[in-house]
Symmetry: C2
Subunit: 445 residues, 2 copies
Amino acid sequence: MARELTAPARMHLALSAGVGGVHQGAWRREGSRVEEWGTIELMVDLARQAEAALLDAFFISDLSSVNREALRVQQPYLYFEPLTMLSALAMRTERIGLVATASTTFSEPYTLARQVAALDQISKGRAGWNAVTSSVGSQNFGHREWPDHDTRYERAEEFAAVVTGLWDSWEPDALVRDRAAGRFADPAKVHPLDHDGPRFRVAGPLNVPRSPQGRPVIVQAGSSEPGRDLAARHASMVFTAQQDADESRAFIHDIRSRAEGFGRRRSDVVVLPGLSPVIGDTEEDATRIREELLDLVDEPTAVARLADQLGGADLSGLGFSDVIPPGRLPDPASVQGRRSRYELFHRLATTELWTVRRLVGLEAASYGHWSIAGTAEQIADAMSERFRTGAADGFVLLPPSQDMLTRFFERVVPILQERGLFRTEYEGVTLREHLGVSAPDRASV
Amino acid sequence: MARELTAPARMHLALSAGVGGVHQGAWRREGSRVEEWGTIELMVDLARQAEAALLDAFFISDLSSVNREALRVQQPYLYFEPLTMLSALAMRTERIGLVATASTTFSEPYTLARQVAALDQISKGRAGWNAVTSSVGSQNFGHREWPDHDTRYERAEEFAAVVTGLWDSWEPDALVRDRAAGRFADPAKVHPLDHDGPRFRVAGPLNVPRSPQGRPVIVQAGSSEPGRDLAARHASMVFTAQQDADESRAFIHDIRSRAEGFGRRRSDVVVLPGLSPVIGDTEEDATRIREELLDLVDEPTAVARLADQLGGADLSGLGFSDVIPPGRLPDPASVQGRRSRYELFHRLATTELWTVRRLVGLEAASYGHWSIAGTAEQIADAMSERFRTGAADGFVLLPPSQDMLTRFFERVVPILQERGLFRTEYEGVTLREHLGVSAPDRASV
């Protein structure tokens, strides 16, 4: 299947860098900036590196909890809550999009709509919201029974409808500011929402005027059935884990078809699979770096994380060289969170018979995203191939470590630019313009 | 009653500027910056003016709703949600404290604790949280029955206990970052909270390490009985509306005695009454400016706001020159929100027999805070008198308009400095240091 005609001619790139590398062992690697961990200056520097490389967006993933046991050997999730951090970064960057992850399960839609809209005002139209339903963290939010997957997605659908409705409260010309006549705004152009649904009751209007982008960009990363519908209905950017090119093409086709079914244009959804690039001077060098990173991982912690990805499988007694016996793995239908990721690890363990070490390597490097090792040229080739054949509209970069991040910008981006596959300057100002997606029309809601 | 020995030798000043003036009519006044309203640049400029004047804190009040009817003639609450805005301002200021208002009624304690802790990290120890229980906004948060005053304060007490407990999760030396040994943190120094109370169930730990300030500063502004207890237990800075010096002294004495009862030092609570200064070249000039501002107010809107301050009183048919007949005013005990403010307006209307215009003037200028008009010298005298006689540890400035804000910094601050009553340079770095209040010890919780 060739690229759809509506697809963009250049790929889109976002950076999800954690605190300088997403690999579990990255902080221990020579050249990591673990001493700067927890400073806003490190985050400013990462965002500015991404902006200097002309990326579409700086993407902040998030969890609302910390794994206390794993703290000994791995850095926990960011110090900084994404919306406050990105508001700070907005003052030190000019063009790059700023995407904050926030949970529909743990937040109130009025506050979330307001904070994302404020980020859009502060950044002059560069805000994005990555809507997640969360599969961990309930212990910090009073849930006595953890809502199941479908219930979380039902809430997420209603949540997103409230948020977008609130973002549409103000018409673009609602502000009058006529000193002499004493007319500040035109109340006829500021609309209540009066939402009264099964989970939320929100009157509105939002206390933030029209967003510079019309609406901030919604990003979605769920790949389950309800996740795909949520993405197709609301998201302009979809972040997905795809190992296989054919499956990725099928996924993109499915998302675009669903979007069309919801009355949207196929080109208004940009799908970016995750990519963890290990870049060496030679292919052998890249493989060596991959193994070095894996050697920095704490084995019991890594196996425990793998067990989580496998739906809470019992991996006790298994060594790194073992293949997991099928009886150890729970039935996919019983898994309530990150279901699509579970299906991937399940398949690699059962159909492809990957060893525990190889599975751990994938999990530790990029928690299940496409991970490739090679020279800059080989990485660029692999990316170009997927882009040209309609298996990706671009990528969310998940550099395993600080040095791989720098190498990607120094070595791979210039190759993509030479080939005409990536921008050589920012043409737009807003995230929506970088992605080439239109703003939903208020009337079409 | 003279100043208590524990009181500071210099006054503390915070600025609550709205968007350049808190008077209802301010946006219409010559020199207002209403054209810049909604830009982060305006807020940056206000914060920097306050920092150049060496103020302790830049204070952002907040509501989680917009009054759609009043939009025609008055600017609504800020575009910017306080925590995101102050995170942005942290990158453009160096020393001034940054205090964000956030509601205990509409928020989750884990998220709030995290965002304030992030602001403290971003600003390197300058964050404050003004904990409010909110008396409006329920329509945006699904409440079918609005919780009454006491219920809101019970929630607020538990909320504050959870937040401070989460802030204490990490011991100062919990981070190890030992690359070679593969030890990132010492889990024995990262503590769960395991809070299981009537309203919240929060396991912790927080996913933000120890705050630069030990704990961010808590600010409280309720003056009712449960409000005073909340302040005395948790707050390092208390913002209060006080017209009368004797009452203000009694209030401060009461708050400090309650704090002592909770095992705290009297000097660890700084009480700052609000102050709305109208500064003229002469006394007559100041009076003229006050009347000019009142003339810019929309009368029906102002009377409606006054009716709100009077607990929903029916003021229909009353003219500006009338005194409110006592039968129009509801019983104070039946009023559920902003009760102390209601008692003030009730007293002025019934005991002092203020006219509707005079009441509106107070409400529109500063919604009930101490409002004085005079020359810079007279304003400084009035402030000095209250400070020297123990009726204030300083003030939260509520300049009615942009020009009054500028005049205060240009004319009043230098007089206070000459008299040795206000700092001539920042001595500390954190908000806690500016206020001269110690950080609560984790062990004392």
